[in-house]
């Protein structure tokens, strides 16, 4: 079966640096940090107290309506509807709105709607909704539970809402692979188009796990940064010797994918082609990556193979790079081994240094950053990389963005459970 070519024609972002692709990208490449001290719930007894929080017009977490790039929930949905969905769904809807708008895609008829689908995942889903409902159930009994508890927290309800809102009647699907979710969603959606199940897909990831339960849970797993509670913008420092865990972020990244010939025929702006996609499992440990980086290595190798590319064709890697003591060096080693002599020409950065780790949204947000890096010839920086813990021939773009002409880029995402995904984009 011959595979059809798939291109990216729309982008949408809701991130701790604000919302809107142009706004976020200019702040990211300028080296801004979206990390701050958590102020919207009690953190006094929590080990980690910093996060990448979406600046919101409703005043949550210190946001204000006059901030540039602020996220305004009321511009997305009426207040009554907002109460019936968890925040990750709200972010996903908003990012999908932007992606669809930027794509200019319009269905010609009902048949076109039936060939247009949605595949937006989340790593965790409606954690706050589940937490609040548990308290209501415990304190007041089952009759006091809202009928909207379940649809508010279900992961596939991002895809459901985006489908209903935009009349997209094709494949309706969702990915749940922890921190690989966003990358898997884009890769899987591209395959649905490549193999003819759809002509257009809205794909990505959404997350809103910055809650007491989320912080207590990840804190108990000793996964979060704890040493920078008073200097939040220093807390995410991939490959730096003082890194001590990841900083959670929230938001959503969504792309519009289309079959290449159709996109070209309608004169769409084509940001990139989804050139390759690779998946693997570590078969090693529930939270730790395999020591030799074999899982990530094989995901990247498979992505290059499906793209028909050699490592030297890739000019920029957006690393998983979460700022955990173990994971960063393991990934770096895997990239060095795969790229061999080509590693010395490579730029690799971790944008988690700026926005934190958006868990299930990370892979989609970082895919968009990778695509924009290629479009503009700018590799975004790795903030706080003051003293690398190991030497590398790879340029890790410390502190400042690196200008470099790029023809192909690769984005890595690795998740709990030992699930790995790599996506390769090239110029169409």
């Amino acid at each position: 079966m011959s595979r059809r070519r798939v291109v990216v024609t729309g982008l949408g972002l809701v991130t701790p640096l604000g919302c809107g692709v142009g706004h976020v990208w200019s702040r990211l490449t300028a080296g801004h940090s979206g990390l701050a001290r958590i102020g919207h719930f009690d953190v006094s007894d929590l080990s980690s107290q910093v996060a990448g929080i979406v600046p919101r017009a409703d005043g949550r977490a210190g946001g204000s309506p006059d901030m540039a790039g602020v996220f305004d929930p009321d511009a997305v949905l009426p207040a009554r509807e907002q109460k019936r969905i968890d925040d990750f769904i709200l972010y996903g809807i908003a990012a999908a709105d932007e992606a669809l708008k930027s794509s200019g895609w319009e269905p010609a008829d009902d048949a076109a709607r039936e060939r247009a689908g949605v595949l937006i995942g989340s790593g965790i889903g409606g954690l706050e909704t589940i937490y609040e409902a548990s308290i209501t159930l415990h304190e007041r009994g089952p009759r006091k539970l809202s009928p909207f508890v379940i649809p508010a927290m279900l992961i596939n309800l991002v895809s459901g809402h985006v489908s209903i809102r935009n009349g997209l009647k094709g494949p309706n699907h969702a990915v749940v692979t922890a921190c690989s979710t966003g990358a898997h969603a884009i890769g899987d959606a591209a395959r649905l188009i490549a193999y003819g199940d759809a002509d257009m897909m809205v794909a990505g990831g959404a997350e809103s796990a910055i809650t007491r339960l989320g912080y207590a849970g990840f804190g108990a797993a000793r996964a979060l940064s704890t040493g920078f509670n008073d200097t939040p913008q220093k807390a995410s420092r991939p490959w730096d010797k003082d890194r001590d865990g990841f900083v959670m972020g929230e938001g959503a990244g969504v792309v519009v994918l289309e079959e290449y010939e159709a996109a070209k025929a309608r004169g769409a702006t084509i940001y990139a082609e989804v050139a390759g996609y690779g998946l693997s499992g570590d078969a090693y440990h529930i939270t730790a990556p395999s020591e030799d980086g074999d899982g990530g290595f094989r995901a990247m190798r498979a992505a290059l193979a499906s793209a028909g590319m050699a490592p030297g064709d890739i000019g920029y890697v957006n690393a998983h790079g979460t700022s955990t003591p173990k994971g960063d060096e393991i990934e770096l080693g895997a990239v060095e081994r795969l790229f061999g002599p080509a590693a010395s020409d490579l730029v690799m950065s971790s944008t988690k240094s700026s926005v934190g780790h958006l868990l299930g949204a990370a892979g989609a947000v970082e895919a968009i950053f990778s695509i924009l890096a290629m479009r503009d010839g700018i590799c975004p920086p790795t903030l706080n990389l003051d003293n690398p813990s190991v030497d590398s021939v790879i340029n890790l773009a410390p502190h400042k963005a690196v200008s470099k002409s790029l023809d192909a880029v690769l984005s890595n995402s690795f998740g709990f459970g030992g699930t790995n995904a790599s996506v390769v984009f090239k110029r169409a």
Binding site: P78, R80, R143, K144, S146, P147, F148, P151
Partner: protein, 79 residues
């Protein structure tokens, strides 16, 4: 009766986001006020909270209009 109606009306306007003048006794939640089955469940819960009464599921199923709700609640409160 009119006090119950006004309080029911306020809840319906808030939950269904409808114009006040549409909330009349004859108005059916689903056919006239745009509610779906989940909205109905939520409305009944809101009535229970507001009036501190219990509306069992079989009774809730018979409450289809604003007037049905007012009547049921008034009778409950009258006991």
């Amino acid at each position: 009766m009119s006090d119950v109606f006004e309080r029911v009306k306020k809840i319906v306007v808030e939950h269904l986001d409808v114009e006040e003048d549409k909330v009349v006794e004859k108005a059916a939640f689903i056919d006239d006020l745009g509610a779906d089955s989940l909205d109905n469940v939520e409305l009944v819960m809101a009535f229970e909270e507001e009036f501190d009464v219990e509306i069992p599921d079989d009774a809730a199923e018979t409450i289809q209009t604003v007037g049905d709700a007012v009547k049921f609640i008034s009778e409950k409160l009258g006991k």
